[in-house]
Each structure stands twice: as C-alpha cells, then as structure tokens.
Subunit: 368 residues, 2 copies
Amino acid sequence: MNRTNGGGGPTGVNLPALRSHNAALVLDLLRSAGPDGISRLELAERTRLTPQAVSKITARLREEGFAAEAGHRASTGGKPRTVLRLVPEAGHAVGVHLDRDELRAVLADLDGTVVGERRVPLDLGAGAEAVLDAVVREAGTLGRGAGTSLLGVGVALPGPLDHIHGVLHRVTGFPEWDGFPLRDALAARLGLPVVVDKDTNAAALGLAVAGERGSFAYLHLGTGLGAGLVLGGTVHRGARTGAGEFGHQVIQLDGPPCPCGNRGCVEVLCLAAMERGDVGEAARVLGESAANLAGLLDIDLVLLGGRTITAAPEPFVHGVADVLAARARREGAHEGPVPVRLATGGARGVAEGAAQLLLAPVFGWGVG
Amino acid sequence: MNRTNGGGGPTGVNLPALRSHNAALVLDLLRSAGPDGISRLELAERTRLTPQAVSKITARLREEGFAAEAGHRASTGGKPRTVLRLVPEAGHAVGVHLDRDELRAVLADLDGTVVGERRVPLDLGAGAEAVLDAVVREAGTLGRGAGTSLLGVGVALPGPLDHIHGVLHRVTGFPEWDGFPLRDALAARLGLPVVVDKDTNAAALGLAVAGERGSFAYLHLGTGLGAGLVLGGTVHRGARTGAGEFGHQVIQLDGPPCPCGNRGCVEVLCLAAMERGDVGEAARVLGESAANLAGLLDIDLVLLGGRTITAAPEPFVHGVADVLAARARREGAHEGPVPVRLATGGARGVAEGAAQLLLAPVFGWGVG
DNA sequence: GCACTTTGGCAACAGCGTTGCGAAAGTGGA
DNA sequence: TCCACTTTCGCAACGCTGTTGCCAAAGTGC
C-alpha cells in the first residue's frame, strides 16, 4: 500500500493483492524466525491480524508446501502452541556475481542458505558472447540442482546500469558493454526470469535480508568506491536506478583530478591515500563522506565491505567510526553516533545478494 | 502495503485498511485533477480497479460529502462521462510557520487553497509561554473559520526535532527550546491534533502535494542551509527523523571552521561567499553539494528556495544547474542532467506545507 | 427513426478477514 | 485419579470488499 508501485503512480488494492501481501508477510516472518520457528499467535501479534486469519493463511501456505509444523512450545498452563517454520526447499534462486576477473555463482534456497557454489576466472572485457556463455553454463549447472523450484537468476555486476530494464550503462573500464541488454539476452538463453543489479545494491539487499533492520548504507571499497543504500528496509535505487554514486562525491573543492573528470572525489582521495600506504587518511576521508551521507539521510548504521576493507578491516572501521562520533559529538546529537561495522557475507556476499533479487520478492520485499 | 508502517515492522492488511487505502487513493486523484475534475472510468484506469469498484467508492465519497458531480465530458459516440470533483470545503487545516522573527499562519482547504492568513512579528527566543500563546491565538482565530471541518494544526519550524513525538531538539540559536514537547503542549491547549515538522520538510511536502512528481530535493538557503527530501513521492525523514542535514555536509576537507564545529561545511562556505558578495562562488559551492546529493540518491529534480535565493534567484539557479550539467556530461550520463528550478510557494510555502502535514494523510500520503 | 456505442447502476457472487463457539490438549489442585 | 481451568486453534456463519453479468440511460450517426 505504498505510493511508488510500478510506473503509473500508486495503484488500488483488491482482494487478490491483499491476500498475496498478507501471505508474503507471514512467509517473511517465518523466514526471519529461522529454525526456531514461530507460533500462529506470535504471527498474529506481529501482523496485527486476528489469530483466525493467520490460521487460514498458514493453512494455505502449508498446503502449497511453503510452511510446515515443527514441534510445540512449552505449555504456559494450556494447550501448547504449535511452532511453524519455513520449508526452505520450496524455492531456490541462482545468484551470479560478475567481477572484473572472476565469476562467482551460488544456488540459494528460500532461507538464503547457499546449497551450491561455483567460481571460475573471467575477463569481463572478453566480449558479450564469452561472458554470456560462462554465465549460462555456470548458472545452468547450479540451477539444475533445484529442479522446478528454481525461481530465476539474479546477476550483480559493477558500474551504472538500468535495473528496471536490465540494460547496462557503463561497466567502469569496459566501454564495450555500453547499452547491452543483459537481462533480456540472458533470459532468452536460460529460459528463466533474470534480474540485473549493481553489485553494491545486491550486497546491500543481502545484508537487509540477512537481518540488518531499518536504514543503512553499505560502503564498498575495492577497485572503486560505491554504496548500496537501504532506506526503511527497501533498497533505494532512485528515479533512474542510478543511486549510490558515492565514490564521486566531491569532498575537496578543486582537489586532485579524478578519472571521472571531477576534482576532489572521495574515491580518488581515498585510493591515493591507500597507494601512499596511509590507511589512516583513507579511513578519515571515507569517514567524512560517510558522515555527509549519514547526516543527509539519518541512517541507523554504516557497513563496510570490499576487497580493500576486508584486507585490513580494523583501521577502516575505527577510522570511519571516529569521524562519525566526532561529528555527532560536535552537533550535540541526542542519540549516540551512527555505529560502524564490518559487513558480514565477505567475498560471497554479492553473489548471495544477487540470489536475493529473486528470493526477496517472495517475501514481499520491494513489491509493495 | 509498504514495509515501513509504524514502529513494529510491516503490518497485515484487512478489509477496512484496504477500503480506506482505495478511498484515499481515489480522493487523491480527484484532488490532483483540480477544478477540471475526472471521470469514473479515468479513475478506474489510474487505480487499476474495475469501473464498478470506482463507482461504489465514489458513491460513498459523495455520501460523505468529499466528492460531487460536476458536469459532463463531450460524448465520443455514447453516453458522455460524468465528471467528478473534490469538495474542498469538506476539510481544512491550519499551517503555522514559526520563523526566528515572524509567525505566519494559513488556513487551507482540502485542495490546499489558502482561505485565510495571518502574520505577526515573533521572537522565537521570548520563551515557550509567549510563543505558545501566539500560536494558540493565531491558529485559534483562523481555525474557527473552518468549524467542524478543521482536521488539526501543523507547525513547521527550523532546527532538528523529533517529528514522531513532536519534541524539539535544538532550534538553532535558541537552546532554551531544547527538549520541549511542542506537539503535546499545543494539542492540549488547542484541543486539536497537532503535527510538528522541520520547515524544510514542510516546504518539501507542500511542493510534492502541489504537483512535483517523483523524487526531488528542496534546498533552502536563508539564515542557514537545509534540505527537504522527497523520495518516491514521500518525505524522507530518516530513522530518527533527522534527515536533511544538508548544510553541514563537508565539501572542503580541513576547510574554514563552521560554528557547528566541523571544517569546510557547505553552509559556512556558501554564506562566507555571500558575505564577500561573491554570488557566483556561493552558487558553485551549493551546486557541488547538490550534485553530491543528486548522484547519491538519483533524484529527478532540485528545487531552490529561502530568503537568500528568492532575493536573487537567477545566479543560483544557473550556477547550480551548471555544476550539475558539468558532472552529468563528464560522467557520461545516459539521460540529461538533473533540472534545477526555483521552488514555487515563495514566502508562504512553509506555512502551506505545514497545513499539508494534516491534509496529506487524508489522501494517503505517508500513511501506507 | 433506428442501429450502435458508451456509461454506469443493480444484483448476484467469490473471497477476504472477523466473530462466535466449541473441541483439543495441556496444567495444577483436590 | 479426577476435575476445573487455561490456552490453542479449527469450523461455521457473517459482513464487507472488489468483481462479474446484465441492462437501463444517454448520447452519436446514418
């Protein structure tokens, strides 16, 4: 019931839409309850629906194979509550992470658990045919393990792109991909639904689904510097799905030139500091830009990831946290500073998040 | 049906919720159609509900006095469509703009049309009692003109505050307001619902309701520099309703000190340039920070307002647009640069937006 | 004047969550 | 061992939603 559905403005809600919304909501609560499960009455409390409505919804979900009973809780003086859990095998998705020099693909179940993985070297600049062949081969191999429960394939890769239409804009450093309709090309060859997104957005989605609540920014420092934003539990992609251009935020007017053409971008300052071996300065620069972002959007959390960060996490986490703490102290914040943490997921986080591009909609994420 | 309702996570939807959502949606389309009105079949297309459902909804709205028939369209070969319109007098709200030296209050009807206005000098530092007295007096006077159709009073003022609880944090320059529960104090004395928000958020809401579609940033340059963000048609207030801290974005590492304690904030750079009489440099600095924001969030539009800007709009609009155009060109954007315009509404925009804090929820804005 | 098109209300309907109620399945005291 | 009590949860009836089938109303155009 939000105001941003589809392209034609907010839309009306009829009974089938209401039904699928509530079913997805219950399914999401089953998922986030994990292996411990959750009782019908708890579901009723959380959804603010009546227990009887929850009973009907869970009965349908059990009939369709998405949920199952899983034991009982201890009695509190009456009939003990029946515990329900998600059936993870009811759905799978393949997540593909296309990096500059490597293809990493995972097969994940509804729970997000990785049940299959493949890694092969890859040259993103080797041309569309070669890359498409590799994706079709690896995704196909993994997907066969899921049978008919395979929902589709999610692909995450660097650089600006059109998430809605699945068309690449500029994969930084590989101009030959400019304008390539990756989603449709892959969907035609795989015969499956395909969703394409930026690597940073996929990683952020994966973190949100994995349990990071509220609003946060995932900052990725590797070959370049980018961000994935989650605002109110939803990945913010912006009007033309180009949000997250964090690296080319100018924080030093008339500073050193950046390959992008601007002067004083965070990315060039941060990477230059790294080349000098000055990790402290790189972290400070990153912290200042993170503080700009945090003040502008009032987020709950900053998560750091990417090869450069995972190589030496502590100085970055502390350096960024110090800047945020100093700003919060100076501005007399009523609440503590925004916490900074290392992103979980590691090197496989982007591929797992890519799988979530297909899995998350099952739980009502990002579909209204 | 979004995932950010209330405090306890996303909630289920039952039939009453579905009904009020669809009714609000139809009411919103009636409002945005303006005096020309809109036909039932057009409403059905826009809402994606069936014509019969729209007929039932509009019949209820007419019964309740919110909608009325207003003539017919020309025939296209069959029975001509009946045109429906909003009845603006069915609801009113008072909007109060508390500025440092002035109180401005308006009475607006459902259409947003101002049907009453009052302006009195005010010293925000004169103490809570004096300010509350003034608000109660002016809002009461205006509100009596609306009778029982008065929905409540919206109050907009500068400085960080807690929008959800209606408690002020720090009204910049007036520490005596720190922690003051403005909403509850006013609601008790007025006997009406009261909503409190930052002046920039109110102005942004007013612009969104007035017809600015999609996502945009409203940048306000007056005594200070702040922003109101509208993302996907909704005012973005952030986790602790503190979003929009645009003025203390650092764009010059180790730059000149700002009263806030940081160095190189846009606000201090921009205001210093204005004091030197260098409007061009002020506009360039504003433009760089606006470009940072536009790249990060991928917004559709930048709107400029505030006393300093309305005093000399052209150099600012052009200066900011130039920076955005230069960045878009250098980054090889596939679409044109983000347009920059002067915000409509002028000096009364904040007060009108404050009234919309009560009116907009009638049309389903920001309530899920 | 008649055939046709288009609008929009009436009535019956399927399906949603809700309410009323009772069976099932425990606890705990006599 | 029995019985009163508590708590869970499904069945059945219900109210209300949007949907479908149908037809009267109100125009156009030959």
